[in-house]
């Protein structure tokens, strides 16, 4: 290949952040350098992802890492779905990075603070006596040098999970992003974060083991872990074993995507992290799970009506249980965490219907939800910065106190609830249409459940809006601290992006439809990986798929 062909872009979203993370860690004493490295690296990723979105229109862009022909080596595949997810997630990651730099996760500089104050702060933080201690105090105890490298590695892990064309590499991608998320979630090691982190880490470790065993079983049953080859080989094997493997993969990804009943850990652990970390977790990490479900269930396995029915029931339960939890919450962060779980149900609904229209709607919904959910958590971070609390019982009067903040909250909140003509509305309508077209009894139940969930979401966010912004404040809030532009800017940008999705809804929906087409019908994917239907490349592996004689006795 030539140096600057489009294929060159494919590995960049993973490699550049990793390279930058290594550099940032080696330069851990130079905070300024770290900041520049991170911002440049993630900007390069955004540019590369944008390029891939354009390139993938004409079919998946594939590279063989190290030049090893597809079934032998690892390959990366940027099909329309992967490219779209990559672009959205990299934009979100860049916004969150800028926000967190202004918020000062990275500036708990222990060299300047006087020792006595240090000691006091440290003791307080260690005892965690005052969970609502003002943000400044908590910020001071966050470790300096590790935020940037860890965040970059998280970005690399997310990108690798999207691009992986190999099941074991998908496992590695998950491990990268999970390991980074463990560190980010327990930053500073306060009582709350260690408690929440313990739950999160134990659950995630369990899901990783399930995933690893499933990969092993896939290899046992098919003799390959290459996804394109799996799509060819899995239909040939014993249906019982295949269903078992499918179930195990669904279990592993279901935990990550927080599908009921595997969702209990989420509202418990996410809200305790620093605001930008919560934002990126809520926006992205669960969606990586949804993406993995979409990719494996549609590309690798032949359709299975019974499993689809089970998924539909789970989608309904996820929606309803999640939103009922949200309605009961008094804390904005927890409320949003519950709506997050609830709206995962919509995406699973789309995946479970397993038609091209429903999958397209689900993909559109994922894109919408990543931006809106992240934006909302960033706004909540601003509220917390401004008032020192996120409890609805203590907030009030923000509409007059901070009209700008009110707008920033109101727009994505309405979008989340699905008010026309915003993108949330369009995504939901797409899902409902697909459900109606399906026409089965269960699909109708889901359609009704979706509408109810949407109304309850509206109730939950309006209640939050009323209490925090509209009603007079129940107690005197502390002196308002000015919000740094570095925090407001990225938040506003992300809100603008989420509104922008409505503006470009037409082309975006068309793109999602193309992405759905390519995952539903695996042939384009397989042909891109193995042109002319045979494994490509220079290696001797060409003969691999030619002989398919029985090897088991």
């Amino acid at each position: 290949m030539t140096p600057w062909s489009l294929e060159t872009l494919v590995p960049l979203p993973v490699l550049v952040p990793l390279f930058a993370a290594g550099l940032a860690l080696a330069l851990h004493r130079y905070e300024r350098a770290q900041r520049i490295i991170s911002v440049v690296a993630l900007s390069v990723v955004v540019a590369a992802a944008a390029g891939l979105v354009v390139a993938a229109q004409d079919g998946p862009v594939v590279i063989d890492v190290g030049g090893w022909a597809a079934p032998v080596g690892v390959n990366l595949v940027a099909d329309p779905l992967a490219a779209l997810m990559l672009l959205v997630s990299s934009v979100v990651l860049l916004c969150v990075l800028l926000y967190s730099m202004a918020q000062g996760i990275a500036d708990g500089n222990d060299r300047t603070a006087p020792a006595t104050r240090d000691t006091k702060i440290l003791q307080e933080a260690i005892r965690g006596q005052d969970a609502d201690a003002d943000e400044d105090t908590r910020r001071d105890v966050l470790p300096v040098a590790i935020f940037h490298p860890t965040f970059l590695i998280l970005a690399a892990g997310v990108a690798d999970a999207f691009l992986a064309g190999d099941l074991f590499n998908l496992y590695v991608g998950f491990e990268i992003l999970l390991a980074a998320s463990y560190v980010l979630l327990t930053l500073g090691g306060t009582v709350e974060r260690i408690r929440a982190g313990s739950v999160y880490v134990v659950v995630a470790l369990l899901s990783s083991i399930v995933f690893l065993v499933a990969v092993g079983l896939v290899y046992a049953a098919t003799g390959t872990v290459n996804m394109a080859q799996l799509a060819e080989r899995l239909p040939d094997i014993d249906p019982g074993v295949r269903l078992g493997i499918q179930g195990l993969l669904l279990l592993a990804f279901g935990i990550k995507a927080a599908i009921f009943p595997l969702s209990a850990w989420l509202p418990d652990s996410y809200p305790t992290a620093p605001a930008p970390v919560t934002a990126v977790f809520a926006g992205l990490l669960t969606k990586v799970g949804v993406y993995a479900i979409l990719r494996t269930q549609t590309l690798l396995f032949p359709r299975n009506e019974a499993l689809e029915a089970v998924l539909l029931v789970l989608a309904l339960a996820t929606m309803i249980v999640g939103i009922l939890g949200a309605v009961a919450q008094d804390d904005v962060k927890r409320l949003l965490s519950f709506t997050l779980v609830s709206h995962i149900g919509y995406m699973i609904f789309g995946v479970a219907l397993a038609t091209q229209a429903s999958t397209a709607a689900a993909i559109f919904y994922v894109v919408h939800h990543i931006t809106v959910q992240t934006a909302l958590f960033l706004v909540v971070g601003l509220i917390e910065r401004r008032t020192g609390t996120t409890s609805l019982d203590r907030l009030g009067g923000l509409a007059t106190m901070a009209p700008g903040l009110a707008v920033l909250f109101f727009v994505p909140a309405m979008n989340l609830a699905g008010i026309p003509p915003l993108s949330g509305f369009l995504g939901k309508v797409g899902l409902l249409e697909a459900g109606v077209v399906d026409g089965s009894g269960l699909a109708w139940v889901l359609v009704v459940g979706s509408v109810v969930t949407s109304l309850l979401t509206l109730y939950a966010v309006v209640r939050a809006w009323n209490k925090a912004f509209w009603q007079p404040c129940p107690e005197k809030l502390p002196e308002p601290t000015p919000l740094p532009w570095g925090m407001v800017g990225p938040t506003a940008a992300l809100v603008a992006v989420s509104v922008g999705l409505t503006v470009v809804a037409g082309p975006l929906y068309a793109y999602a439809d193309r992405a759905a087409e390519s995952v539903m019908d695996g042939r384009t994917y397989i042909e891109a990986v193995f042109p002319d239907g045979a494994p490509r490349g220079t290696g001797e592996s060409n003969k691999t798929t030619d002989h398919t004689e029985e090897v088991a006795p």
Partner: protein, 170 residues
Amino acid sequence: MIVLDTVPSGALLLTVGVLFAAGVYLLLERSLTRVLLGFVLLGNGANLAILVAGGRAGAPPITGATAEPMSDPLAQAMVLTSIVITLALVAFVLAMAYRSWQLHGHDEVQDDLEDTRIARLADADAPSYADSDAEESGSTLDEEAVAVRDEVALPDRETPSGTTRGGEDA
């Protein structure tokens, strides 16, 4: 030449089963050290499972060393990756267990405070189910939270957080 016979060995199967049973049993514990040991056992079990997935035993996969069929190198490469990842995560969980001990004097996973608070309100028939729009003074909530925290989070206020303190006051 790779071993193509995939008939599993009963001895390895039994080992995998027992490692998983013991691992899950430990993982359901509260003590992070035991959870960690459970994870270590599960990791070992998963690695053996992948080895079984690669087929039966054979010669070491080094070309030219022997003419006998070799055991599957791809399965081995995957296991090696997984061993190293497990090592890294074990170290991290251990750090978390240590930190938890430093904070609480034990290394047990705690319940969620907010859940506990809501459960307590429900037990006391307090207005958690009543519309929370109703007037409810913040101080009550705070007192509740403090009470819950005392019970769940800090059984002993003078627990060894002093270790770090000690380091700092030098």
